[in-house]
C-alpha cells in the first residue's frame, strides 16, 4: 500500500510538472484582452517607449506590449513563431529586404488598402521596398543613408584640403584613396575604412556606381548577376584597399567606428547613427561629407532600414493596424519612434522635423548634415533589391566580401558566390 501511494505521489508530481509547462502560455492575461497590441522587435525597449506612450495617450483603453528579441535571433525567432501561427505577435519589425520572403511565406498581412496613404507618407524608394507582387505588405518606419566622415586634422597634416558637404562637390573614390594614402604618409595609421566592412548594404553602391546593378536581375528577381564587369571592377578596387594596406584586415564590423574615433583613419563611411557617436567620442576636428562615387560612375548611396508589418495570425488586427498607421503614417507618431535613437524617420514630414535635431548633435562638425541627407535620399538613394531570395543572396555575398577582403582572387570568388546563390535559390522554387 505504501509503495502504491509512493507511486501515486511520483506520478502526480510528474503530471503536475507537465501540466504546469503546458499551461504557461494559456495563462497569459494579455492574450484574452482585445485591447492589447503586442509588438516584437530587435531594439532596446526604451527606443519604442515614446511611440507606445504617445499611441496609448491618443487611444485610451488600448495598450501596447513590446518584446525585444536580440537582432541576431530575430529572423530565426520570426520564422519559428510565425510558422507556428503564434498569436502572441500582432505587429513586428521587418528588415526591409526580407519583406518579400516573409510575404511569400504568408507571414505578413496584406496592407494594400493603405497604398495611397503610404505613397504620400514616404519616398518612392521607401514605398517600393514594401511592395511584392503588386501588393503592400509593410509600412516603412525608419530610413537610412550613408555619408563619409572626415578627420580634417589628419588631412591638414598631409596638406590636403578637406571635401565639403555639398553633393555637387562629391569626391571620387580614386581621389579619396589618394588622399588617404597621403594622410598615411603623414602619420595616419590607415587611409579609408567602411563601417560595415563585409556588409552588402554598404558595398552595393560600389558596384551600382560602376553600372554593375544590385546583383539580382530577372523578371522574378531570382537571377544572380554578380560576375559582370561592374561588380568585378568594384570588388577589385575593394580588394586593393586591403592588399595595399589602405584599409585594415581583421577589424570586424563592431570594431570599425572606434578606429575613426581614435583618429587612426582620415575617411570613414558610416551612417547617421555615427553623428551622435562621434560627437561624444571623437576629440578632433571632423566633418560629414557625401559618400564618394567612382570617377565617371554614378553617384549612389545605400538606403532603407526597418518596416513594420502585421502577423496574419493576430487576433487583434484592427488595433494592430491602428498602431502601425500611427507609427508609420502619422508624422508625430513616426517622429516618436526616433526620439531615443539616431535614425532617420521614413515619414517625409517627420524626417523634415527630425534632421535639424540630428545636425545639432555634432555642433559645427555635423553642419550641413540635414541638407545632405535630404538630398541623398531624394537623388542618389538605391534600396536593396526586392527579391524572395534576398536573405540567401545577402548571406552568400557577405561571405564573398569577407573573403575578397582577406585576399581571395576577385573574379573566382564572385563566380563561386554566383553559383552558391543559384544553388540556394533552387531550393526556393
Amino acid at each position: 500500500m505504501r509503495r502504491v501511494s509512493l507511486a501515486l505521489v511520483a506520478l502526480s508530481a510528474t503530471a503536475a510538472l507537465a501540466l504546469s509547462g503546458c499551461s504557461a502560455s494559456s495563462s497569459d492575461p494579455g492574450s484574452a484582452d482585445g485591447s492589447v497590441v503586442k509588438l516584437l522587435g530587435a531594439e532596446d525597449p526604451a527606443t519604442f517607449a515614446p511611440v507606445i506612450s504617445a499611441f496609448e495617450a491618443e487611444n485610451k483603453g488600448t495598450t501596447v506590449k513590446y518584446t525585444q528579441v536580440p537582432f541576431d535571433q530575430l529572423s530565426s525567432t520570426l520564422q519559428q513563431r510565425l510558422a507556428a501561427k503564434d498569436k502572441d505577435i500582432d505587429v513586428y519589425t521587418v528588415d526591409q529586404p526580407n519583406v518579400s520572403q516573409l510575404a511569400a511565406q504568408g507571414f505578413l498581412e496584406d496592407l494594400s488598402d493603405l497604398k495611397d496613404q503610404a505613397k504620400k507618407a514616404t519616398t518612392p524608394e521607401q514605398y517600393s521596398v514594401n511592395v511584392y507582387q503588386d501588393k503592400l505588405w509593410a509600412l516603412s518606419v525608419w530610413n537610412s543613408t550613408q555619408m563619409m566622415f572626415v578627420n580634417n586634422d589628419a588631412l591638414a597634416k598631409a596638406g590636403i584640403a578637406a571635401p565639403t558637404a555639398n553633393p555637387a562637390e562629391r569626391w571620387t573614390w580614386e581621389q579619396t584613396v589618394d588622399a588617404g594614402k597621403a594622410a598615411q604618409a603623414a602619420g595616419s595609421k590607415w587611409g579609408l575604412l567602411f563601417e560595415q566592412v563585409e556588409g552588402y548594404y554598404q558595398l552595393q553602391p560600389l558596384a551600382e556606381s560602376l553600372g554593375g546593378g544590385s546583383g539580382i536581375t530577372g523578371k522574378d528577381m531570382l537571377t544572380a548577376d554578380v560576375t559582370n564587369p561592374g561588380w568585378t571592377k568594384a570588388m577589385q578596387w575593394y580588394a586593393d584597399l586591403y592588399s595595399n594596406n589602405v584599409s585594415p584586415r581583421g577589424v570586424g564590423g563592431f570594431q570599425t567606428s572606434p578606429v575613426f574615433a581614435d583618429g587612426d583613419v582620415p575617411f570613414f563611411i558610416g551612417g547617421p547613427w555615427d553623428v551622435g557617436k562621434f560627437a561624444e567620442n571623437a576629440k578632433f576636428n571632423w566633418s560629414v561629407v557625401p559618400m564618394p562615387a567612382f570617377a565617371g560612375g554614378k553617384a549612389v548611396t545605400p538606403n532603407g532600414s526597418w518596416s513594420w508589418g502585421i502577423n496574419p495570425a493576430s487576433d487583434h488586427k484592427d488595433a494592430a493596424k491602428k498602431f502601425l498607421e500611427f507609427a508609420a503614417l502619422n508624422p508625430a507618431g513616426n517622429l516618436a519612434t526616433t526620439e531615443k535613437t539616431t535614425i532617420i524617420p521614413a515619414n517625409t514630414e517627420a524626417q523634415a522635423k527630425y534632421l535639424p535635431t540630428l545636425e545639432a548633435l555634432g555642433g559645427t562638425h555635423s553642419a550641413g548634415v540635414a541638407d545632405l541627407i535630404t538630398e541623398e535620399i531624394k537623388t542618389t538613394a538605391v534600396p536593396r533589391p526586392v527579391s524572395v531570395g534576398y536573405v540567401q543572396f545577402e548571406s552568400m555575398m557577405n561571405k564573398a566580401f569577407a573573403d575578397i577582403r582577406n585576399g581571395s582572387p576577385v573574379e573566382a570568388r564572385l563566380k563561386d558566390a554566383q553559383s552558391q546563390i543559384e544553388a540556394a535559390w533552387k531550393k526556393l522554387r
Binding site: R3, V4, A7, A18, S76, P248, V251, Q255, G407, K427
Partner: protein
C-alpha cells in the same frame, strides 16, 4: 509475453479460485517495486522521450521532406536532401574541415591536459595557483572568450605585438585560410584544456602513492613512472575525457560564428556552423536537418571507434 499493465488492471472483485491466489499475490509483490521505480523514473523517461528521442525522430523525418516557399508547402522527397548535400562542394568542404579539426584538436587537447595534470599534481611551490590560472578560462562564457581572442588576433592586436617582441614577423591569423583553423583551435584549447585537466587530476590523485614509492626503490625514472604507472592507471578517466572532448569539439559553434563566420574561403566552416547557417540564415531547415543526422552519425561512429580501441586495450 504479458503486458505488466494487464496484470494490475485485473479487477479484484473477479476473485479467482482459492488455489490461484498465491501466485497472483507473489506476482503483485514482484511488480509493485517495478511500478514504483517506473513512477519515480517517469519524469526522466518522459524528459528523455520528449527532449531527446522525439526531436531525433522529428529531425530525421524533416530531413526527408523538401519544398521551397514558392512551390508551396513541404512534401516527401526521400533521400534527396542527403544526395544534394554530398554533391555540394561547400558541404564536402565543411565535412573535411570538421574531420581535420577533429583529428588534430582532440589528441592535442587530451595530451596537453594530461601533461598539465601530471605537472600540477606534483608537490611544488605555487602549483595550486598555476592550476587555478589554467582552470580560470572555464569561467569565461564562450562568446566572451571569442571577443577577447578577436582582439588578440587583430593585425594590430596583442598576438602580433607579442611576436614582434620576439622579433618574429606579423601573422594574418583569422584573415588567412591557412591559419584561421589553427587560430580557432588555440582559442578552444585555451578554454578546454583546463576543464579536461580537472578530470585527469582526479584520476592521477587516485593512483596509490605506494606504487610510485616501489618504482622509485626499483630505480625507475620519473619518465618511466609516468608511462608505466600513471598512464595505464588513468586510462579510464582518459577514455572519458577523449570521448567527451571529441563530442564537445564536434559541437563547436560560438567562436566560429563570432570570429570567422566559417571563412576565410570556408577554412573554418565546421559542420555545426554550416548547419546553423543552412537552417537560420538560408532558411533551408530540411537540408539542415539532414546535415544534423549526418553529424550525429559521424560523432557516433568516431566515439564507437574510440570505445572499441579502449576496450581492446582493456582486454589486453
Amino acid at each position: 509475453m504479458t503486458a505488466p499493465g494487464a496484470r494490475i488492471q485485473r479487477p479484484r472483485a473477479a476473485s479467482p479460485l482459492p488455489g490461484t491466489r498465491r501466485p497472483r499475490r507473489r506476482s503483485r509483490l514482484v511488480w509493485r517495486p517495478t511500478l514504483v521505480a517506473l513512477a519515480f523514473l517517469s519524469p526522466a523517461l518522459i524528459g528523455l522521450v520528449l527532449l531527446r528521442l522525439a526531436p531525433a525522430v522529428v529531425a530525421f523525418w524533416q530531413s526527408l521532406q523538401g519544398g521551397g516557399i514558392l512551390s508551396g508547402g513541404e512534401h516527401f522527397v526521400g533521400l534527396d536532401n542527403y544526395v544534394e548535400l554530398f554533391s555540394s562542394a561547400d558541404f564536402i568542404g565543411s565535412l573535411l574541415v570538421t574531420l581535420l579539426f577533429t583529428v588534430i584538436i582532440n589528441p592535442v587537447q587530451v595530451a596537453i591536459a594530461f601533461l598539465l595534470a601530471v605537472l600540477y599534481t606534483r608537490r611544488a611551490a605555487g602549483s595550486g595557483f598555476w592550476r587555478s590560472l589554467v582552470i580560470l578560462p572555464i569561467a569565461v562564457p564562450p562568446a566572451v572568450s571569442a571577443v577577447i581572442w578577436s582582439v588578440i588576433y587583430r593585425p594590430d592586436g596583442l598576438g602580433n605585438a607579442f611576436l614582434g617582441m620576439l622579433g618574429l614577423p606579423a601573422q594574418p591569423f583569422l584573415t588567412s585560410p591557412t591559419q584561421s583553423l589553427t587560430a580557432i583551435m588555440v582559442l578552444l584549447s585555451w578554454v578546454g584544456v583546463g576543464y579536461w585537466m580537472l578530470f585527469l587530476i582526479a584520476g592521477i590523485n587516485d593512483v596509490p602513492t605506494e606504487l610510485y614509492e616501489a618504482a622509485s626503490l626499483d630505480g625507475a625514472s620519473a619518465w618511466r613512472q609516468l608511462w608505466t604507472i600513471t598512464f595505464p592507471l588513468v586510462r579510464r578517466p582518459l577514455a572519458f575525457v577523449l570521448v567527451a572532448d571529441t563530442v564537445s569539439n564536434f559541437l563547436v559553434f560560438a567562436p566560429v560564428q563570432i570570429l570567422t563566420k566559417g571563412g576565410p574561403e570556408g577554412s573554418t566552416n565546421l559542420l555545426m556552423h554550416d548547419i546553423f547557417n543552412r537552417a537560420y540564415t538560408l532558411g533551408d531547415l530540411n537540408t539542415a536537418q539532414a546535415e544534423v543526422i549526418i553529424l550525429v552519425l559521424l560523432t557516433l561512429a568516431i566515439v564507437a571507434v574510440q570505445f572499441r580501441l579502449l576496450k581492446s586495450e582493456d582486454a589486453a
